[in-house]
Amino acid sequence: MEKKLNSFILSVFTILLLSLTLLPLFLCLGKISGSKQLQAIDLSRADGLADTAAECNSDSCVLSETVDAGDEYIRKIIFFGESTTYGLQRYGLLPDGEATTQVWTGATCTDGSVRCAGTLSLSPTINQTRLYYPDDGTAQTIYDALRKKQPEYLVVTLGLNNGASYYSEDEFKQCYRILLNTIVGASAQTNVILQSLFPVAEACKISAYTPERIALCNSWLKDLATEYRLKYLDTASVLSDANGYLLYDYDNGGDGIHLNEAGLQAVLQYVRTHAHPEEHET
């Protein structure tokens, strides 16, 4: 009896040992598959698609003064940007007023309901940020939104958040290249215009925002416009005083960053009177 019991225990022990040896192997084979929700940033596309800019130097990329292209031109533009752009909708300055579908900025979701966040930040994940797509009230990536809309013109005003605050030149441009590669990939026929960052008021309390810093970021934007053979809109030139601060009459009197209605009207006037060359050809 004892012999049989010993044999039994020995058998159990052997089986246990074998199981323990094989268990890690089975666990390694049963890997969990990747989440569809997590999307990797494809940095391989972040080196820029443009060749060296033989045809486009930095001066020719700057949109020069034209005749006033009027509301007809404005209607063809999607204004994509951060809170400084959102003011165009808030003040109802575009042809459809506050109901305009021409302003694209970040989305937010509250209790399952998608709303416009009114803000957006330049970042390495900008291509996967959900923006508020006003045509149907959904949250879309810039790629998906552009694939749907295929606008004739896209004015991009992005980089005060994060960018002007603390990004190095390399980081700033890297994030923009991720964005621009996405834009070009989504809608190659859209004419992209990089608009300068707007100046901030002297009273602005954010120490990072100086005229020198904003001018530096704008020079990087010009470099990117050259690199990608896009156009650059130097709107800051009509918004700034002699010291590079936002003109007092254009300041909304709040944080020193956001323009009032008069300031945004000046922006739109500049856009209309510095129209993209494509508009002259139509």
């Binding site: 246990l16 323990l20 890690p24 666990l27 997590l38 940033i41 940095l43 803000t119 940020t129 958040n161």
Partner: protein, 157 residues
Amino acid sequence: MKKLCLFAVAVSLMLFSASYANAQSISAETLSKAIQSAVPAEFGYVDNTDYLMKREFSSLQNACKSHIVVCADSTNFSEFGVFLVEEAKDVKPCVERLGAYLDKRKEQFKNGIVYNANEYPKFENAKVFTVGLCVVYTILDPVQNATVVQTVKNILK
């Protein structure tokens, strides 16, 4: 008595191997998915590993057997990173590096805050914690932080 000892040894070995197998099979990605489920973001999380490993955490590359950093999209500042180091001696340098990164991000946000002032508490409450050889940092609100700690502890216990 002998048989009892033999049985006890067998059971101990079984328990030890089960937990060893569990630890060996856990990757940073697995932990990351569990955390994402526990503290979901509005529109999900985005893998930012390549970018941040190159720019901020390159010194940790060799010490980590797996790592992942994710963040919410750029309308909010939620972010976390999971680093599984190879050896116990690698834990402290990892903790220090991540702590320095959080200090830097907090300063950047404070200096450049435009909107999202309501996001600042995430930086004030940012933390680094360890569970064995797993080092995690979070830039989340305090309730989410507690959830993440508990989630990781539950998986790695």
